[in-house]
């Protein structure tokens, strides 16, 4: 199955003076995977990538590429190619020279390089633009040239540091599918960095969620979305409504939480935390906006929430309803558009129901703040 070259991080620590940028990271990336590191700005994503590409020696721990320890091996000797956050194309070289710079280093003739450049230009849909300078290309075109330049080096592992962050939304969405497409075609391992959770979920086979130098969770998109293992992961990935409280009762894999504002609510304990939650613990309960459905007003029970409606937003297929939430924040509920309207409910209470299986209980922790 895993045809490509895998990457392993073993007990990786990276310190800058007293500051710990990466704390004990353990990650196994399968060969041929599209793997993403997802986390807010400053959490250490670029630092990890620099350790994999060899620009930075870890303070402790190992980086393995294809099972080989990379300790002491410089960036020019590793089978990786890095696409920089700002692309770093060479402004004074023509596009084709940029793309085939790695071949120039190996001593390929200009003719060979031209030929390879033409192939790669075809692949990135820039046929015939090889003689331009990078400054004469649009943002998306530069992006593709940077990808071609990295691929031309025939790396075993391609490292991408938020390569789409400078593009506008439309182009970003287009480039996402294009990147995924290219990855499938060349079949090498991609390690992708982003702080955009939509990007991570749509493109990746597996995602590592990072917070302040710590990797909170590793899993495929569905697992991370449906079964987050920390409060941070639950609040950072996708939209989520949080209810704080204390554990009242543990019943197998489920738990009753005495919430501060909605009484006792039932939830499923996240898989990683089964057996770790005890009565009296501070806990958080997360329910996604789309996990709610409408219930008869005033229904009481351990999977019903009643709150006042603040406003409604019509989004075509769904209504987004913002209700009085916890600690001054609003609670968001998305109900499918079935021809009804909630306009008349503004300022009035509304009762919602959820399936206990879709509510996730976690030990209280730091939330992602937007």
């Amino acid at each position: 199955m895993s045809a490509g070259v895998g990457v392993n991080l073993e007990n990786l620590w990276i310190r800058f003076g007293d500051f710990v940028a990466v704390r004990d990271a353990n990650v196994n990336i399968n060969g041929g995977d599209f793997f993403s590191f997802l986390g807010p700005s400053g959490c250490g994503k670029t630092t990890i990538l620099r350790a994999v590409s060899g620009f930075l020696e870890p303070s402790e721990g190992n980086v393995l590429i294809g099972g080989n320890n990379m300790k002491g091996i410089g960036p020019n000797k590793r089978p990786t190619a890095l696409i920089f956050q700002n692309l770093a194309l060479f402004p004074l070289m023509k596009v084709w020279e940029n793309i085939t710079f790695s071949m120039e280093i190996k001593g390929a003739s200009a003719k060979e390089r031209r030929k390879r450049a033409d192939e790669l230009l075809d692949m990135i849909a820039l046929t015939g633009q090889g003689d331009k300078l990078p400054a004469e290309l649009s943002g998306g075109q530069k992006q593709r040239v940077a990808i071609a330049r990295a691929l031309c080096a025939e790396p075993d592992v391609l490292l991408l540091d938020e390569p789409l962050s400078a593009l506008d939304l439309k182009l970003r969405q287009h480039m996402r599918s294009e990147l995924r497409e290219i990855q499938k075609r060349v079949g090498i391992t991609f390690i992708y960095i982003t702080h955009d959770q939509g990007e991570a979920l749509t493109m990746s086979d597996n995602v590592a969620v990072m917070r302040a130098g710590v990797i909170d969770q590793i899993g495929d998109g569905k697992t991370i979305y449906n079964d987050p293992s920390t409060a941070f992961a639950a609040s950072f990935v996708g939209e989520n409504n949080v209810f704080r409280g204390t554990v009242k009762k543990v019943i197998g894999n489920e738990v009753m939480i005495n919430t501060n504002r909605s009484g006792d609510l039932m939830a499923r304990i996240s898989s990683n935390n089964v057996g770790k939650m005890k009565e009296g613990d501070d806990a958080m309960l997360f329910i996604r906006p789309e996990a709610f459905s409408l219930a008869p007003l005033g229904t009481q029970g351990d999977h019903f929430v009643t709150a006042e409606v603040h406003k409604e937003e019509f989004e075509g297929n769904v209504f987004n309803i913002f209700m009085e939430g916890e600690g001054g924040k609003e609670m968001k509920v998305s109900l499918p558009n079935l021809g009804q309207s909630f306009e008349s409910h503004r300022g009035e209470p509304m009762t919602l129901e959820y399936d206990v299986h879709n509510a996730v209980a976690l030990p209280a922790g730091v939330l992602a703040t937007e």
Binding site: T80, F90, P91, I105
Partner: protein
């Protein structure tokens, strides 16, 4: 009024604008162009005693230029071998000093520009502070270092490298060192300025693709730094070729610098027209040389100003 002038006055106001413009014009026309034109005029006139100036003998002539090439009328040699040799040696030496300076300063400029931290500011200060001392004193300091009983000879003889003191002065080593040192800042800072704006990621990208350090410099850094390099080289070359203090103080007895010949004509021989002709030849040759090299290395005039 052309548009750029109108914009200029709109931005600075008529009063301040006129004062600034006036000063700049006075500076360029009054202090640079007019004196140079009068030098040019001198160079085409015979050297006459004051009463005869403006008289019938005061006519334009190429005598002074001829003198540089053929020597005195009816002289023993076909060519003015002595002066021509000095001229030629001065140009070659100025080129060598420039190249030597470039090789020395490029790594320093690169290091200063691409390294972060406070020690860089201290290093830059250490480069700048010696220039607070005037040129003559600096040259004499070098003379003391390189002299027969100087620090360097004491060290080398003491360490047993030489049996007898080495004559750095007579061998022109002191002169080259002095000229090289005199203008390093003018080489370092233009290069530093350009390299500082080079995105570090470009260097890392090249490295990531497997490039050696020499290739990174050849293909990424030097092409980018070219405007700074040409600006630095031009200044160092022009100033070395036109230097007077360092050759006077550090040159050996045999090694006349062309500027010393010019100085002698003006000062010792009181032959201003002859001195002016020599100066014009030096200036024009240097400018042509620089322009030719700029063409060879595909540098634009605008780049020099960077």
């Amino acid at each position: 009024m052309p548009r750029f002038l109108r914009e200029y006055f709109n931005r600075n106001g008529v009063g301040l604008g006129s004062v600034m413009l006036g000063l700049v014009l006075f500076w360029t026309i009054g202090l640079i162009i007019l004196p140079q034109l009068s030098m040019l005029d001198f160079s085409f006139r015979p050297n006459l005693p004051p009463p005869e100036i403006g008289g019938p003998k005061d006519v334009y002539t190429l005598e002074n230029y001829k003198y540089l090439i053929f020597g005195p009328e009816g002289g023993s040699q076909d060519y003015n071998a002595v002066d021509l040799k000095v001229f030629y040696r001065t140009l070659i030496a100025a080129i060598l000093v420039t190249l030597f300076n470039l090789m020395l300063c490029y790594p320093i400029a690169y290091y200063l520009a691409q390294t972060k931290g406070n020690h860089i500011r201290i290093l830059a200060l250490m480069l700048i502070i010696p220039y607070w001392i005037n040129e003559i004193l600096r040259a004499f300091a070098l003379r003391i270092i390189f002299g027969e009983t100087g620090v360097l000879n004491n060290l080398l003889v003491g360490a047993g490298v030489f049996d007898t003191p080495f004559d750095f002065i007579r061998n022109d080593i002191a002169l080259y060192a002095g000229l090289g040192y005199a203008y390093i800042l003018l080489m370092i800072f233009p290069i530093y300025n350009v390299i500082e704006s080079l995105d570090r990621n470009q260097i890392e990208a090249a490295r990531d693709m497997g490039a050696s350090w020499t290739r990174i410099h050849r293909r990424v850094v030097i092409p980018y730094a070219k405007p700074g390099i040409s600006s630095g080289c031009t200044m160092v070359f022009m100033l070395s070729a036109g230097a007077l203090a360092a050759p006077q103080i550090l040159g050996g007895p045999s090694s006349l610098w062309f500027t010393q010949l010019i100085y002698q004509q003006f000062n010792d021989n009181s032959d201003w027209p002859q001195g002016a002709a020599y100066a014009v030849v030096l200036l024009v040759t240097c400018i042509l040389l620089v322009l030719a090299l700029m063409r060879v290395f595909k540098v634009n005039m605008g780049d020099i100003g960077k």
